[in-house]
């Protein structure tokens, strides 16, 4: 059944409509693939096979009756940052413990209302804080990719590392993800998948565990540009419950793909040629320029002078907002409680035990920059710098339609290579973070392989709410570069062909003592 899981979302959609296979068969193929691969890759923290099969059965009925919705019967993975009705949602943190929301996220509800099937909840960095998936309380996700001739475990990127690994390893057709500083685009680049962070306000943030509210945005990770276009159309909506969600129509991104890039003006910002960027990345960038030119676009040198300040400003704004958002985890209303000698001691023990190292570090930075006497020097200053970053882009849009940059400064790295030094890890986001700061849409598209045989991505940045143009430009790169897929499916080696893999089990939340209370 591996063949079914290798289909793209668009191919699976067409196959279902032509009755080549049923939604139940398709879903079953994915559930078996997950059961076989998850012990090695750790992409899912909560597979939901019963729900998936029930949804697939309902989809088959609709398909039969000719009442198929846009994503009818298509199995997806859902990042564990999205709240799921009655299903454990943890943000991959111990502090949420066994939290079972009494509601579904707006983006999730949009997908299931469009007929999609949920295969399970996907691993990610704790509270989406990380670039390697090493901060998850459930342990890291292992990338399906390996360097040529080695078996070193590589990171799938982060924070949406479960989403990127699951899509790259054919453990779902596409996945939800979120991006605060690069958490969709960087993992997509490192796994040979397509990831788009839409304009701030395009998708509702309602029901997504908050990290930094002025930067967080949901988007898909998918196998192809077309698949990402189909996914975003279904995920995006205006939602009165998120006051920052924007009430503007969602175009049909899939049909826009056919328009091509003839006459499109592509900007190449000189400030992205940073010190220490690998030669390979530089070459890839030039290749991308050549491809777009060959497809009929025109190339223009531009300047975005405040680029270098985006990352330091981000590491003031994001921790500041995180420290405020994460104040709600106090052990009183939901999640973990570690009882201490009094109220303050209970708060401190709960938050000390519940939050991992990186999350604690960021809360402390955020608390410091917001503390008395420092607000103007840090947060306000960073918000002013943010205005300048946005202004750079506003000026660029006078002469270009899209900006082309690399997605990451280097190819996928191995575990532990950057985890000792927070700033080395933060530099992973150097090309992606400007986009969040300015609220713009950005897409990462695979553009080839490194000399190590691992994927590399190019990023396209667009005007506010002009995702359609981004998809068109990304398609031109995809057409020229071709899709990259994992060569050796090493994670399947442990499951013998023909035997049924044991049912995937939900990963237990990591051990944390908790106070047993009287539950009503």
């Amino acid at each position: 059944m591996t063949e079914l899981t290798k289909l793209t979302l668009a191919e699976a959609r067409d196959g279902l409509r032509k009755k080549k296979f049923s939604a139940a068969e398709l879903t079953q193929a994915f559930l078996e693939a997950i059961a076989g691969a998850n012990p090695a890759l750790n992409a899912y923290v909560l597979p939901t096979p019963e729900l998936a099969l029930a949804q697939a059965k309902a989809s088959d009925k609709r398909l039969k009756e000719g009442k198929a919705r846009p994503l009818e019967g298509l199995p997806l993975g859902n990042k564990d940052l999205f709240c799921t009705l009655d299903l454990r949602t943890t943000a991959c943190s111990k502090i949420l413990d066994d939290f079972r929301p009494t509601y579904e996220s707006a983006v999730g509800a949009n997908l299931w209302d469009a007929g999609a099937v949920m295969l399970g909840k996907l691993n990610c960095d704790e509270f989406a804080m990380g670039s390697s998936n090493e901060t998850s309380a459930f342990g890291p996700v292992i990338s399906p990719w390996r360097r040529k001739g080695t078996s070193d475990k590589l990171v799938p990127g982060g924070s949406s590392g479960g989403s990127s690994a699951a899509v790259a390893a054919d453990l779902c057709l596409a996945a939800t993800a979120t991006d605060t500083g690069g958490s969709i685009r960087q993992p997509a680049a490192l796994t040979g998948t397509v990831g788009i962070k839409p304009t701030y306000g395009r998708c509702s943030r309602w029901g997504i565990v908050a990290f930094a509210s002025s930067l967080d945005q949901a988007g898909p990770i998918a196998k192809t540009v077309q698949d990402a276009a189909i996914m975003l159309k279904a995920m995006a909506s205006h939602d009165p419950r998120d006051s920052t969600s924007v009430d503007t129509p969602v175009p049909d991104y899939e049909t826009a793909l056919a328009e091509g890039v003839k006459g499109l003006r592509i900007g190449v910002p000189k400030e992205y040629r940073v010190k220490g960027m690998s030669e390979e990345i530089d070459k890839l960038w030039s290749q991308g320029i050549a491809w777009l030119k060959a497809a009929g676009a025109t190339i223009h040198d531009i300047s975005l002078p405040h680029t270098k300040y985006a990352l330091p400003a981000y590491y003031i704004i994001a921790p500041a907002e995180a420290s405020s958002n994460l104040a709600r985890y106090d052990g009183m209303r939901y999640g973990l409680r570690e009882t201490g000698k009094d109220l303050i001691d209970t708060y401190e023990r709960t938050r000390g035990a519940g939050f991992g190292k990186e999350v604690r570090r960021r809360i402390l930075i955020g608390t410091y920059v917001l503390s008395a006497g420092y607000y103007d020097a840090y947060y306000l200053k960073a918000q002013k710098v943010r205005s300048l970053i946005k202004r750079d882009f506003d000026e660029a849009w006078n002469t270009v339609d899209v900006v082309l940059t690399p997605t990451t400064p280097s190819p996928a790295f191995a575990f532990g290579e950057k985890s000792g030094d927070p700033i080395a890890m933060y530099l992973e986001d150097i090309f992606t973070v400007t986009v969040n700061m300015a609220g713009l849409p950005g897409i990462s598209v695979p553009a080839g392989l490194s000399s190590e045989g691992t994927p590399l991505g190019l990023q396209l940045i667009g005007k506010p709410f002009d995702e359609a143009t981004l998809f068109r430009a990304a398609k031109a790169i995809e057409d020229a570069a071709g899709r990259v897929t994992v060569g050796e499916r090493w994670w399947e080696a442990s499951t013998k062909p023909g035997t049924t893999a044991p049912a995937a089990k939900a990963k237990k939340p990591p051990a944390a003592k908790k106070t047993k209370g009287r539950k009503k």
Binding site: T244, P312, R351, G517
Partner: protein, 95 residues
């Protein structure tokens, strides 16, 4: 900006996070490193710049001032570590 151990402890207290002696020492180095690194923002002249407050220039939507939600006490208490008679049970705060 160099932070000392006392500052780290004060911040941890403000953030209501228990940290060990050893962690406090490590955090002195890490937080100082990060704060030194963000210091480069002082190079940027922002004297005539307004802070960014919104990403897209939209007017926030208003709705009628009416009750649209509620009556969900059970839902709200569902995930609480401790409850009694429809209330959250929390450590004693008044003697």
């Amino acid at each position: 900006m160099q932070v000392d151990e006392a500052t780290v402890r004060r911040i941890a207290r403000l953030a209501r996070i228990k940290i060990t002696e050893e962690e406090a020492k490590g955090l002195v180095k890490e937080l100082s490193g990060i704060l030194n690194w963000v210091e480069q923002l002082s190079e940027v002249d922002t004297s005539a710049v307004e802070p960014m407050t919104r990403v897209v220039p939209i007017e926030l939507k208003k709705r009628e001032d009416a009750v649209t939600d509620g009556g969900k006490a059970k839902d709200i208490l569902k995930n609480a570590p401790m409850t009694e008679d429809g209330f959250f049970v929390v450590p004693k705060i008044v003697e």
